[in-house]
């Protein structure tokens, strides 16, 4: 009998591969994913590829409009600010501070949060209930307010902002990890490895963790868009990055007094933040969608 299938082996994609197949189906999401990767590359290589240094001021061309304007100069593609610094270079450097730092913040707080969360899921009774209530209280305080208070304790500045946002994000990761681990613990496959005599830590490491890692990554994208907005908001309020650092929020607040004369000093940093947050959110959305599709199959 002739075989319809030329290939002998049927391919069964691994769960991760299947996730990728589902993820890449939507062109919009792939575009955002490309932008996300580009932002990471920019954050790492900004010092090498920018046309000018972000602190170099060109005193003969202060407040130059963008190049498409009649008064613009093509060597300053997006114009200059009130100190004659090149906007394009500042924005590219800003990617390191706003986007790159948010990335690092999320990784650190995810590691700490997942560790605490998975260990706390193993506890029960009074300790567990105490932790639950405690987390509820912390989560009911708005994240920005908490970050502001931590900055007030530590003092203003970029490194303290980073620390504050890490501390603020940890409870969210604990909450998500804890809920997911608890949910998985009730399932049959965990019971099976329990009957095999695996210790709780072993179950956690080899049975449960591979099953919840995607949920944690999804939560990370949410956390990252919040982190970008928080860094920028604190920079804008004058509590985060000092004005000489080209952090997008701080750049925006620098431009306010000249908003009417030089609107581009406010437009571009805001657009940069918007761009970074949208691409992060879209990547997260795509992941969530792909996860849901994989579950339905």
């Amino acid at each position: 009998m002739a075989r319809e299938n030329i290939y002998q082996e049927e391919e069964f994609p691994s769960p991760l591969k299947q996730l990728w197949y589902n993820f890449k189906e939507k062109p919009m999401i792939m575009l955002a994913f490309g932008a996300f990767i580009a932002l990471i590359v920019l954050a790492v290589f900004a010092p090498i590829i920018t046309p000018f240094s972000s602190s170099q001021s060109h005193l003969d061309s202060i407040l130059l409009p963008p190049a498409w304007n009649n008064n613009g100069d093509v060597s300053f593609l997006l114009g200059t600010d009130k100190l004659g610094r090149d906007m394009l270079s500042m924005l590219m450097h800003g990617a390191t501070f706003t986007f790159g730092l948010s990335f690092i913040i999320v990784i650190i707080s995810a590691i700490i949060g997942v560790l605490i969360g998975s260990l706390s899921a193993l506890t029960s009774g009074f300790k567990s209930s105490f932790l639950n209530h405690f987390l509820d209280v912390i989560l009911s305080i708005p994240s920005l307010l908490l970050a502001i208070v931590i900055v007030a304790v530590l003092g203003t500045g970029l490194s303290n902002t980073v620390l504050a946002i890490i501390i603020v994000l940890i409870p969210q990761f604990i909450h998500v990890t804890r809920n997911e681990v608890k949910k998985e613990f009730t399932k049959d496959y965990v019971l099976a490895s329990k009957l095999d005599g695996a210790s709780s830590l072993r179950i956690l490491r080899y049975s449960i963790f591979p099953n919840i890692i995607e949920k944690i990554i999804t939560q990370s994208t949410l956390a990252q868009s919040a982190a970008i907005l928080d860094i920028a908001a604190l920079g804008f309020l004058g509590l985060g990055a000092p004005t000489y650092i080209p952090e997008w929020g701080a750049m925006l607040s620098n431009g306010i007094d000249l908003f009417y004369i030089a609107p581009w000093t406010v437009y571009f940093p805001g657009l940069a933040i918007l761009f970074a947050v949208i691409s992060t959110n879209l990547v997260g959305e795509g992941l969530r969608h792909a996860l849901k599709q994989r579950k339905e199959h």
């Binding site: 209530h133 307010l145 208070v149 007030a152 509590l239 925006l252 406010v266 947050v277 959110n281």
Partner: protein, 342 residues
Amino acid sequence: MLIFTLRRLNLFIFTFIVLTALSFSLSFLFPGDALTNLTGQVNATLEQRALLIEEYQYNSNIFKQYWAYLTHLFNGELGVSISSHLPISSEVINLLPATIELSVVALFIAMVIGIPIGFIAAVNHEKTIDNSILFISMLGYSIPIFWLGLLAVFVFSIQLGWLPSAGRLSLVYEIKPVTGIQFFDILLSKSEYKWQAFQDATLHIIMPACVVALAPMTIFIRLARTAMMEVLDSSYITAAKAKGLTFWQIIYRHAVRNALINVIRHIGLQFANLVTLAMVTEVIFSWPGIGRWLIESISQGDYTAIHGGLLALSSFIFIVHILTDFIYAALNPLARERKHGA
């Protein structure tokens, strides 16, 4: 309902203890002397200081100190501001209503616009309307609020000149604060320019409230969409269809009511988010609320003010949280009868 109330009360007491313990420990964490940070008496003489130490049980162990702090808190004494030397409690009472006003109006706008749009998206699930609504809500969710505020001021106040850019009310009108909520005060006042003042206050609140409302609105769109889709999937909707009800009858009589309950449940959580946005917006629009005061006091190193502001804002949020929980339980009998951990 009684058990539900008791359980909520338990949670409330626990939250209160954690919150006060946190704010009490802040006085030790802030730079400088803990007692000064708690009372705000920077230039106290030795005798005054001895009196304060006595009052706050400062030489006893930490639990007695905490207890003394709680007693002061219950008497409404939050110390005096380090920078302005005004009592914090009176400042909070003056400023908090402005924030409440702004956030309640914003919540109202977000719900009134967001929930119907979410329902429309759910009814047209996976059509162009649904996708475009989702995309726009994603856009609204991602806009940095301070940038949006600045753009709004630029367009509507400076270029078009339609709306005022700062403050709560034009200085022309003299309104005596009674409740602190501007609209009530205007209605209560006996000024002959009452209606002009009311219009002016409305014009002042439109822009900041809309800016605050945008991000929560997009969240309400998503919540309403998910809730409506869940309801439309359920079997009583199929039963209603089988009875031969028209589409709008099904939506209006069965779906909307049941979906709304699920949306109301999330209001409390969204409110915390909304208050944060309101804090930043207050800075941009010079709204005389507690958020602006709090951010200003950080740059001034006014630790008593930070402490009082944090306590006031988070208890306000928590009270709203509990209120929505009660409303939800009153509307949805299923929530009252859940067994453990409700």
